[in-house]
Symmetry: C2
Subunit: 361 residues, 2 copies
């Protein structure tokens, strides 16, 4: 940013007043020339604009205008992960697209807020010039989440723990997995393994013990609960189900996670992955080891991204309306609310394809 303080310049800045003085009109008229063409004669307007260009005036200062108007026409968006990662996550991206689709025609800007290396530093949230926030998948006590709520602006929480002050949109994370596990158990599976994205913010990779499965992420907690209900209904102890946690949601990490799970003494016959990306990695590992899918191992994903239908074999997964989550979150903010903030829970659907089947005998 070149640290270019306006105050550095020795020569006084060109402002509306500069133009007004040069044209011998009032500041208000110059302002109107830019923002309300109907308030002055076209001739005067073009003369003012010409003078502005001549004096190298950059137009009304946006910050000053926002201060005066009390409206920024901007929504701040905060993701779990670092921005550069979030943009590689198909689901995060789809949610963002869903938001963009709605805000775009309303001419609302989207402010992507960086999650600082130091997560405790909330200044990017505190100093953000926005009218409202959308939070995606932030842990319950995340400093960024708290900072956003502390701003006392309208907030929509997507895929996180609801807050009484904020609107909420999410999915039923539980029942899809419960159904999936139930069906697989019915097909003879007794040894399940779980591949998940982070359960905590510490960047740890590896098997997650029972305490850790009570994640700080609402989504993870719910999904674990769904799986747990499913396996326990089949008479399997939750503690006997290995859960492998990946620090980042990516195909490469799915590869490693599946390897770790399949290396166990009693390897799972069904791998439940918390995203399609992880599932693709798991399939890659299985195929590399010469295992048949689903003959030797069943693999399921979550999300139903477009690639899931095209994989080999096509991936059994749980479809969630990721883009609609973005649509709805944006719509909530565009419409606003007065009393209690709105909440919407969307349904999921198990999509049975060919990556799952009967347990091996």
């Amino acid at each position: 940013m070149g640290k270019k303080h306006k105050h550095d310049d020795k020569e006084p800045a060109v402002t509306l007043q500069t133009i007004a003085d040069a044209m011998c009109v009032s500041r208000a008229t110059v302002s109107n020339a830019f923002n309300r063409p109907d308030q002055l004669t076209p001739e005067l307007r073009v003369k003012i604009l010409a003078k502005a260009k001549e004096l190298k005036y950059g137009g009304p200062d946006a910050a000053a205008a926002v201060l005066r108007k009390g409206r920024t026409d901007t929504i701040g968006v905060i993701f779990t992960e670092a921005l550069a990662y979030a943009l590689t996550d198909p689901v995060a991206l789809a949610v963002l697209q869903g938001i963009a689709r709605e805000t775009e025609e309303a001419e609302i800007r989207l402010l992507l807020i960086p999650t600082a290396a130091d997560r405790a530093d909330t200044s990017p949230v505190r100093d953000a010039v926005v009218d409202s926030f959308i939070l995606w998948s932030l842990p319950d006590t995340d400093p960024q989440r708290l900072a956003a709520l502390a701003r006392r602006l309208p907030v929509v929480i997507v895929d996180g723990t609801p807050d009484p002050e904020a609107a909420w949109v999410g999915i039923d994370d539980r029942s899809g997995l419960e159904e999936l596990v139930g069906t697989l158990a019915g097909e003879g599976h007794r040894r399940f393994g779980v591949v998940t994205w982070p359960l905590a913010e510490d960047g740890v990779t590896g098997f997650a013990d029972l305490a850790r499965r009570d994640s700080i992420y609402a989504t993870a907690r719910e999904r674990m609960a769904g799986i747990r209900t499913g396996v326990e209904a089949a008479g399997i102890a939750w503690a006997d189900v290995p859960v492998y946690e990946c620090a980042i949601n990516s195909q490469e990490n799915g590869v490693r996670a599946a390897a770790a799970l399949l290396d166990l003494d009693r390897p799972p016959t069904a791998l439940l992955c918390m995203s399609d990306l992880l599932a693709f990695g798991a399939m890659q590992t299985a195929l590399a080891r010469g295992l048949a899918i689903p003959g030797d191992v069943s693999i399921s994903g979550f999300d139903d991204i477009p690639a899931a239908a095209r994989s080999d074999p096509p991936l059994t997964t749980i479809r969630q309306p990721y883009e609609r989550k973005g649509n709805i979150a944006a719509t909530f903010l565009l419409q606003g609310w007065t009393d209690t903030p709105p909440r919407t829970e969307l349904a999921t659907e198990v999509i049975w394809r060919q990556s799952t089947g009967h347990a091996p005998v």
Copy 2:
């Protein structure tokens, strides 16, 4: 945004002054409590923050702070296409990731600016509270581009026509295609066809005549020039090379474009696609028609996105450092410049894979 003018409220807004009065300290001290903890005793600070919370104060108003500081720590990003489309374009996305990677650790926010349905409406650009702009692939006379330059803030143009007032980063769009065409001509190809993304902003799909090939997009112009030089060196008239233009850069459009080209009386034996996405579509069409690639038709892409190496057959394409373009654009702004704005042209490389080969006999 709920049209929530601050001025609507009957009760006066809670500001720094409110807290200051309630605590019998000066406004400056309250400001320091939020922004410069070292300027007051910790005890007083916690008391002030407690009172602020009690009075439901949302923290110092961001717009006011920005006005006073003269710095927003925000970069505005403007894309060619509508935001929701840009986010589906692998290259646009990669550039954005490249930008994010650099800005994130500097705690700089990224403002995604909607391209209004009405392209002439530049208010989203004019009212954007930013320190600088990055423009991606905007046509020379695009209103958004002009509006951004008119703000007289630092601007970096990525993949567009340079401007004396703005920094620039782009690639050598020309030589890669020239080399590609030259080699294919050497392998006996005499009938080329081109599949391109938009040459103009009118959303037209179909064959592009010579006039239209002189695109408003600098990138398109350069690439056409590269191809033209290549084919003419092989003794082929540029006018005899059919160019099919797609209104949106997507695989589906590549399918249709290739169909149109292959339906010609003298169908091309080599399809030069302006993106890998379009090339995938073209391959899809060719395979669906039972044509061998490259036996019956050679197909090339542009960009070298990761999927290009994994396609069947693997795609011959021109690698461009899309993410680095974002890195460099962001770095330009983070470092700033004083005299002439910096410019960087990055090299491309033809990646020969199996989707191209000798012309059929």
